[in-house]
């Protein structure tokens, strides 16, 4: 199996890598950017993968995000990866890289909407507060990622929301 992986480090640097995994008995043979590498990768728990790369031991913890990307944690380091199978007709949606254009604002955590700070049609600045979500006894202002116009408000005051739920759309 061959994958194109867009790897984004916490500093924002993005690299495109190609990984090929070829099953060989109970293990995989690995090629990285076309070159064979001495890697022994094994899944040791549902979201934990151990990689021995030229003998160097790494443990990588994986959390899938709602936007289709996955988060990789290894020691204190974190990466975000987006995978595409080049043979597939349609790749995964480029959720995270969509910096321009219409923005969906999603709840960063489950909680309760306690205040709406804007109305549909309002012009907002990047960084301006849109609404306030309360969770764990803390009130958190959710801010607009861009300058634009509030196109839709999907929630009401007092409404409970789940992490990842769309709260409003700024166009």
């Amino acid at each position: 199996m061959k994958f194109e992986v867009q790897l984004k480090s916490s500093s924002g640097q993005v690299k495109k890598r190609v990984v090929e995994l070829e099953r060989e008995a109970s293990r995989y043979r690995v090629k990285l950017d076309g070159e064979p590498v001495n890697a022994d990768a094994t899944q040791i728990a549902p979201s934990t993968i151990s990689v021995l790369l030229n003998g160097q031991s790494f443990e990588v913890h994986i959390t899938p995000s709602l936007d289709g990307t996955i988060k990789l944690q290894t020691g204190p380091h974190e990466f975000t990866a987006e995978l595409q199978d080049p043979r597939a007709w349609q790749g995964r949606k480029h959720g995270a890289s969509e910096a321009e254009g219409r923005q969906q604002i999603v709840a960063p955590m489950p909680g309760k909407v306690i205040r709406l700070l804007v109305r549909v049609g309002d012009e907002v600045e990047a960084g301006q507060g849109l609404l306030v979500v309360e969770a764990m006894k803390m009130q958190n202002e959710i801010r607009s990622p861009k300058t634009g116009k509030v196109e839709r408000l999907q929630v009401k005051e007092g409404q409970a929301v789940n992490a990842g739920e769309v709260l409003c759309v700024v166009g």
Binding site: M1, F3, V5, L7, S10, S11, K15, R17, V19, L21, Y28, V30, L32, V37, A39, A41, T42, Q43, P46, S47, T48, I49, V51, L53, N54, Q56, F58, E59, V60, H61, I62, T63, P64, S65, L66, G68, I70, K71, L72, Q73, T74, G75, P76, H77, F79, A81, L83, P108, M109, P110, G111, A135, M136, K137, M138, N140, A160, N162, A163, G164
Partner: protein, 504 residues
Amino acid sequence: MFRKILIANRGEIAVRILRACRELGIQTVGVFSEVDRNALHVRLADEAYPIGPAASRESYLRIEKLIDIARKMGCDALHPGYGFLAENPALPRACTDAGVTFIGPPAEAMEGMGSKTAGKQLARRSDVPTVPGTDDPIDNPEEAQSLARTMGYPVVLKAVAGGGGKGMRVVPNDAAFAGAWRDAASEALNAFGDPRVFLEKYLIAPRHIEIQVFADAHGRVVSLGERECSVQRRHQKVIEEAPSPVVTPDLRRKMGEAAVRLARAGGYVNAGTVEFLVDASLNFYFLEVNTRLQVEHPVTEQVTGLDLVKLQIAIAAGHRLPFAWESITPRGHAMEVRLYAEDPDNNFFPSPGQILSRHAPTGPGIRLDEGVYEGYTVPMEYDPLLSKLIAWGNSREETIARLRRALDEYTITGIRTNVSLFRRVLAEPEFLRGEIHTKWLDELLTRPRPPAVAPREGTEDAAVIAAALWEVQQSEISSETSHAAPTPSRWKVQGRREQLDRTS
């Protein structure tokens, strides 16, 4: 000794208490709100009963429900933990009426020492130094302002009923007084239903150092030494250690004696903590008394070798303090970090949700007090404290090295935690030198973050390979089970669904 104890709390402290009970051979009864059915304390208790909806005022704060369960299930004692009802004198009163022993101080001692103004008056009477300020709440803002002028700025306004920094305002100068007064009073009213505030001289860069006291019902009061809790984020402690890097044996003795005098004067029984502010010249000033077990009690346990919860239970059962206590010398060094479900990269937003995977640190000198497990959904309704990671060693240096090592081993996915905050603090030269004060962390967080340590060679390659392998395994799982669309994670989907069912 007691036969059966009701634990009127949740989370890590409920687990901590029931472990002590189990070691003593005492049966445990847990209680849980609607969102806590799967909580660890329910799994570990001998018996557990529902006490109402998620909102704590309808469950964990309902005295009559707790008493009802205690009576029906034949409990002869109740432990309140910390938070919730732990410092509400109505609970010990209700326990007494029901013939259940309250594991904590008598209601009168709570009232006489627990409120900030009452505690301060008691401190004055028992010759314990206090920060210059008013003993009584002030009703008139003009009167307060003229007092502030006499005292000299900066001053601080504090809510009489306060705690956790709510209803608290630092006033840097005369011009800011009126506005600060208004804010403090309205915040106090909102948070505690009581707008009254009092006034104190504001100490610049003080340390927070507290003394653990224990008193039995036979008149013996002892000090178990100090804890340094100066690393705070917005008035909330996040790292605690014992002994304090600045307390000398002489200062320890003086602070201990002051705390013991105060506890004795207040008719105190059971575990209590006398908090002090300590200035740069090592003068100490009484701050307040916490009439309960503290979150950070494990650091004292590690350097004294005592189990404070068992000690609380023994004292409540009428036992005498089991040791002659002239002077306690802490052995080695202990340090605790409070791991919260919050995102330090995103303004410390709370991060409740399901813990998808978790690896807990172990090994020499490591203790983990917690109320979570892999697969557990951290509810959004309560305090975000997940775990307390405690390290101890022969020296402060060894303790910090162990704590760092344990933090590197600790991994948790699915929710965000503040682990990275501790990685940063434990590498700060000022922290390593013990040069800390109560505003230190807030100031540190305004400074630019030091550049991240470059990952060792191969880290990115390993991450990319892991991502691909995980993708392969995921697609194998989904093709084995069904032809449904591949899902990011079954656990996560299930967790969301449950949360929807709950909140709708």
